[in-house]
């Protein structure tokens, strides 16, 4: 077999594995969220389809597939139809630089991996904006505008908090950052606790979850930018949302909690375990707190998170020098 063919097949295998993982992860996370929220709300949660309701989502997906594909008459057809795909693509792109073990990265160990992550993960906004604008609905538009305003606010503290990690590790490569934590024997969450908390808050805002679900605030904007979507188009949006949640947690696990590092179990499993621990914290917060208002989110970001993250950066820099 020629070399290029082997390379090509290898890529196909990897992509298939990632997509399979994303699918399984989606099913599991939705089930987990339903069960966890049910526990918190003194309910039982899904318990009919499959053991403990674990196959509920498959039943839901069948329902979504069988629904009529309703397209709003006033929508911009191309932009509207493309939006779910554009939302989903960045969720997959993040996997490219995820290190799953020593000397094992899913795609390539980019030497600017951190930059890549920051760029790709904020790309979801384009999809949200396309959905909001393309739907030609007022609620969708309001949701998309909120997303735009919020992105400006939380992206800067987010990047500043990531920068702290880059300074601690002395590299922008994600694998390098994890390796640095393994080599030094401590995780960056300890020196970078402030950065970790800021990252966590910002990432919840970016994902539109928890108390920051303004973009799709059900009780204000019906469903925000998703209002005009139904059937599997909406399903893909939901899938993108959950995948983004997992990747955001995985990034946090790599930058602050040592990524694949851990005893006994294989590296990728450790990464998944750590990511899920963070995902569960996000779900806990989401099902506990009321929603903040858009101006309060912006206030929090500009007036609190940004100065604190800047200060944190300076303090870390002084200590490193």
């Amino acid at each position: 077999m020629p070399g290029w063919l082997i390379d090509f097949l290898w890529v196909v295998v990897k992509v298939t594995l990632v997509i399979a993982f994303v699918g399984v992860n989606f099913i599991f996370m939705v089930w987990l969220e339903r069960k966890l929220s049910a526990k918190m709300q003194a309910r039982i949660g899904p318990n009919r389809v499959g053991p403990h309701g674990s196959l509920q989502l498959i039943a839901d997906a069948l329902k979504l597939f069988s629904k009529e594909d309703i397209k709003p008459a006033m929508a911009d057809p191309k932009v509207w139809a493309l939006a779910p795909v554009v939302m989903f693509a960045p969720a997959l792109l993040v996997f490219y630089v995820l290190p799953v073990g020593p000397n094992a990265v899913i795609g390539t160990d980019l030497n600017v991996g951190l930059l890549y992550l920051a760029a790709v993960s904020s790309f979801t906004l384009v999809g949200i904006f396309m959905a909001g604008w393309g739907s030609n609905s007022k609620y969708s538009l309001l949701g998309a505008m909120r997303a735009g305003a919020a992105l400006m606010a939380y992206e800067i503290p987010l990047v500043l908090s990531i920068l702290t990690v880059a300074m601690l590790a002395g590299t922008l490569s994600v694998q390098g950052i994890v390796q640095a934590q393994v080599d030094r024997g401590y995780y960056f969450v300890f020196p970078g606790i402030v950065a970790f908390i800021i990252y966590f808050i910002c990432v919840m805002a970016e994902l539109g979850r928890g108390p920051f679900d303004l973009v799709e605030a059900e009780h204000e904007l019906v469903m925000g930018y998703q209002t005009e979507y139904s059937g599997m188009r909406w399903g893909i949006m939901l899938m993108a949302e959950y995948t983004n949640q997992f990747t955001a947690a995985a990034i946090a696990a790599m930058l602050f909690l040592g990524g694949w590092d851990g005893p006994f179990l294989p590296g990728w499993l450790w990464l998944v375990i750590k990511a899920y621990a963070l995902v569960m914290v996000m779900m806990w917060v989401r099902w506990t707190l009321p929603r903040v208002r858009i101006d309060q989110l912006l206030d929090l970001s500009w007036k609190f998170l940004l100065p604190v993250s800047l200060l944190n950066l300076v303090v870390v820099a002084i200590f490193l020098v």
Binding site: S37, M40, Q41, A42, R43, K138, Y139, L142, M145, R146, P211, D213, L214, A217, E218, H219, E220, L221, V222, W287, T288, L289, P290, R291, V292, R293, I294, D295, Q296
Partner: protein, 400 residues
Amino acid sequence: MADQIERSIGAGVQVIEDAETMEEALRPAHLEEQAGERRRMLVNFGPQHPSTHGVLRVLLTLEGETVIDAQPDIGYLHRNWEKIVEGWTYAMVVPFSDRNDYLAAICNEQAVVGAVERLMGIEVPERGQFLRVLVFELQRLTSHLIWFGTFAMDMGATTAFLHAFRERERCYSLFEEITGARLLYNYLRIGGLRNDVPDSWLKKLEQFLDDFEKEAYPSYWDLVINNEIFRVRTKGIGVITPEQAIAYGASGPVLRGSGIRWDLRKVDPFLPYDQFEFDIPVGTNGDAYDRAIVRMKEMMESVKIIRQVMKRLPDGPVMAKLPRALRPPKGQVYNRVESPRGEVGVYLISDGGTGPYRIKWRSPCFTHLMLLPVMARGHLVADLVTCIGSIDIVLGEVDR
């Protein structure tokens, strides 16, 4: 057409002059540049919206997300209550009155039943009166629990909603045991109650009150009311000044939230409320937070009253001796009660027959909904939802 729209939504929104339908006239308006003004958008908030507490439509004029004007459009649940009951017998009016404010059925019944009793001069036996106070306050508790759950839900705190409904469920089971129904009871009769309550039921009620006071109630404060996000979301939102509250005819927690100590249970006792000790919580600023606090504290006052009733419950019949056919004398009467939402009043005109000649229903929700434009103006869309939640409306009663 253009005039009509101009009237209903106020000036400042561009409309197409020769438009045939409302939709056609308003469609392009949301992106049309105004001469010398910023872009305004007209949004139909409801009637099918997750947080309008029923079938309410609000015509919103927005500038960005800021509410310039909010005009409630009601009538989607109109059932012609007042006309239908004309010609019915009084006994038939009582169960239909349940359907007005379906979250506080007992209070509606008391309004109707009390009016007939006053007209005929019927004296309800003491045990009957005490039990009426008991169910009345239990009803207030369930109603406030629903308000708490839905208000928290409007803020995005879905968990509190289900926690409130868990306790409400126990209340409804208690109601079911004595009345046979969970929501619309038809429990009060002209002259007393349908049936007495057994002692075992009182024990169950006692158990519920203990659990509620010790576990559920403090957890509501921890989970929602004392939450920092809840505070910043409600403080200073939807302010109603005392003058506005009086001018619009507000009553109940909305009036008390604005700092006016006015409670019909004290100022115009309709049941033996003057025999029990309880406080009237009042707010200071008249914002959504104060109204929330007033309702939260009222829950505990209700528990206090129920406990006193149980301690002093006399023996005896619950139903007065009445003639077969009720024929109140010619005349008119206004009977008002303090429902969880405010002053529910029945203005009854009798022509001496077996049924009302005319009944006018005074709805607190209707009055409070008219305050919505006052409250919402200048706030954000998210605050509009807070405002609607904070006046605790039941659309079934607004439209009647």
